[in-house]
């Protein structure tokens, strides 16, 4: 009973114990076990909250027993549960993956600290998802960001350092812009609790301030999400970070920033932004540009991880497009797309890590003959790649279908065309990899290092997830719909 009361904060409190333990015990194997146990614990928390939240009642928790809005409150509704489940599951898989992956990327003595940072990063992300207090959200944003700066800098290549530095500057700039927005919103309402704020927006005399608040929160988050054209920091970060870290970032970090944007735009400012139709157009145009231009960049890229990074940017465009439709259907399609992309991109980044480890290169042009040497790896590449394109039978198709359906329902033919064109380019760049891997080896590519069994295990769980949810998608789709109606009900 006591446990069930504290379920909402447990995912945050667990790593607060686990992270220092992992760092202090000083043995990498212990640190790994701690991290694994903590992340499984977090996942179980979310699973345990599932029936309560799906029952229709959000789970509220007041820190220190102070009533809303005096204290900090936590709130788990369908949307936060959706994100939380996804992040916690990815965290478990990344942790499993990291055991071998990090060991080859990072010096032995630094490993406990790396695991500690991984826990902190996930803690920050979950905190952002669970909290109902906008300043608290900023604090957790900074925790996860700081941890990622450290993790990215662990990359083997020295270019990782500059990538981490640029990420730090951009990230901090984004967070500070967000903070300005928080301040403006506070001056207009006098409160920090999200729900309280949303109510006070309606009656506040300072409407221009509120619009300004949204503008700054939006700008800060756009930097964090890396929406085109503010995406420049992202590709190098994904390329040079240690493989396990790249997985974590690609699958969760930008998505959580997107979640915050969704939460703020629809949950918080929904009523206050009278000019929201301009905003919708902005999101749509931004999304379309991101889809087309970043897909084009991905086509030109020869580095596997770099290509995946650009493809991530293009897929963010899909999600933005869905948000820009300003409807429950569009939003749930966006969330479904987010789910699909997390599975596929997570799997692909894991695969990239295995490839870098065993083939010693991430250049696509040097992958010739992969299919012959390692047919299973190739099969996973095919499945995740096709999910990225949106071929039926994969979860990517489900996401794309819902998005297209929503866009067509609202007569947004431009968006439909852009999605289709971008899928075509996705097919081209995915096929560029597949074809190279499939063709007969000209150079003698050597797979000297075996990746062990933990790395393939986690990669395959995501890959099979792509397939499974491609055939049976009720579960995530219903949750996504539920989440979307939560926000649309409140605005």
């Amino acid at each position: 009973m006591l446990m069930s009361l504290h379920l909402a904060v447990l995912p945050i409190l667990l790593p607060m114990i686990g992270a220092p333990l992992a760092a202090l015990l000083g043995r990498s194997s212990w640190a790994w076990w701690i991290t694994l146990i903590i992340s499984i614990g977090q996942l179980l928390c979310f699973v345990a909250m599932l029936p309560v939240v799906l029952g229709g009642q959000p789970l509220d928790y007041s820190m220190g027993g102070w009533a809303i809005p005096w204290g900090i409150a936590y709130r788990v509704d369908a949307l936060s549960l959706f994100m939380g489940l996804l992040i916690a599951a990815i965290a478990v898989l990344t942790c499993v993956y990291a055991k071998h992956s990090l060991r080859t990327d990072v010096d032995h003595e630094k490993l406990p600290y790396a695991y500690c940072c991984m826990q902190l990063c996930v803690m920050g992300l979950l905190g952002m998802v669970l909290t109902a207090d906008i300043f608290n959200l900023f604090v957790f944003l900074e925790i996860s960001s700081l941890a990622t700066y450290g993790l990215v800098s662990l990359g083997k290549d020295r270019r990782a350092l500059l990538a981490a530095f640029r990420y730090l500057v951009t990230g901090t700039l984004g967070a500070t812009l967000f903070l300005i927005g928080v301040g403006l919103a506070y001056t207009a309402t006098g409160t920090l609790n999200l729900e309280d704020m949303a109510q006070k927006f309606a009656t506040s005399p300072h409407q221009r301030t509120i619009q300004g608040a949204f503008a700054f929160i939006f700008a800060g988050l756009v930097l964090k999400i890396a929406i085109f054209p503010l995406h420049l920091w992202l590709p190098t970060v994904y390329r040079f970070a240690p493989s396990a870290v790249a997985v974590l970032l690609a699958a969760t970090a930008t998505k959580v920033a997107l979640y915050v944007l969704v939460r703020c735009q629809f949950g918080l400012f929904g009523q206050a932004i009278s000019a929201s139709h301009y905003l919708a157009e902005l999101l749509l145009v931004g999304g379309v540009l991101a889809m087309l231009y970043c897909s084009y960049l991905a086509l030109k890229e020869d580095d596997f991880k770099g290509l995946l990074a650009y493809s991530s940017l293009a897929h963010l465009g899909y999600m933005l497009g869905g948000m820009g439709l300003l409807s429950a259907k569009g939003l749930s399609a966006s969330l479904m797309q987010l789910f699909a992309h997390t599975l596929a991109k997570g799997g692909l980044f894991m695969l990239a890590g295995i490839m870098v480890l065993s083939a010693g290169t991430s250049k696509i042009s040097q992958l010739t003959g992969l299919a012959g040497r390692s047919p299973l790896l190739f099969l996973a590449l095919v499945i995740c790649g096709l999910s990225l394109v949106g071929v039926p039978g994969t979860v990517g198709f489900v996401g794309k279908w819902q998005l297209l359906d929503a866009a067509l329902t609202q007569g947004r033919f431009g968006l439909v065309l852009a999605i289709l064109a971008s899928s075509l380019m996705a097919l081209a760049y995915v096929w560029k990899i597949l074809e190279t891997a499939y063709s007969n080896p000209q150079s003698n590519m050597q797979l000297t290092v075996k990746p062990g069994w933990l790395m393939p295990l986690s990669m395959w769980s995501l890959t099979l997830g792509c397939l499974y949810f491609g055939f049976f998608s009720q579960w995530p789709w219903q949750l996504a719909q539920h989440a979307a109606t939560v926000l649309w009900g409140s605005s």
Binding site: G64, W70, R103, E109, L146, T189, G190, K450
Partner: protein, 190 residues
């Protein structure tokens, strides 16, 4: 009235400092100016009735931050910046964002305004009930430690994270020859 004058004077100083920091090319001098800048900020906080923030800024901003910057300079040993060029897009962006902010600021309640919603909201409760509910006369402390204690826990987590990151980056790790790394990979492949 003296508040207002002091306030304006300090702000003008602050602006001068910021401009000098931007344009001075000697990095050591920049670090010094940076320390002064922080100190001025702390003074400004004091003028604006925020002693707790002023203390923290003086200790953390002026103290630790400047020391860290000097230490970085000492390690890198680079004391002179290359001649910078004028960055036109950045200038344009700054004008744009700045203009936007000025427009927004006109809608803001003026400094010290009694009617500002910020004073009516949660803050009112803290001032009126804070002592009664927490027993601490310093409302800032009361809010920090009690009402928003969880933020403070998060703050501790931030410091911890920063510490771990710095340790990872700068700790005296044994430098390993690349051969050993290969050995390690072999062990894992078994």
């Amino acid at each position: 009235m003296i508040d207002v004058v002091l306030n304006i004077v300090l702000l003008l100083f602050l602006l001068t400092m910021a401009v000098s920091i931007l344009f001075i090319r000697h990095l050591m001098a920049m670090a010094m100016l940076f320390g002064l800048y922080s100190l001025l900020t702390a003074a400004l906080f004091l003028v604006l009735d925020a002693p707790d923030v002023a203390f923290t800024e003086a200790a953390v901003g002026t103290g630790i931050s400047t020391v860290l910057m000097l230490a970085t300079l000492a390690i890198t040993g680079i004391h002179k910046e290359k001649r910078p060029k004028i960055h036109l897009p950045a200038l344009l962006l700054c004008t744009l964002v700045g203009g936007l902010l000025v427009v927004i600021s006109l809608d803001l309640p003026p400094l010290g305004d009694e009617q500002s919603p910020a004073l009516q909201g949660v803050a009112k409760h803290y001032l009126e009930k804070g002592k009664e509910e927490t027993g601490v006369p310093n409302v800032v402390t009361a809010v920090l430690a009690s009402y928003r204690g969880f933020d403070t826990l998060g703050e501790v987590a931030v410091i911890f994270t920063g510490g771990v990151c710095v340790l990872m980056l700068l700790g005296h790790w044994r430098q390993k020859p690349s051969v050993k790394v290969k050995n390690k990979i072999r062990i894992t492949s078994r």
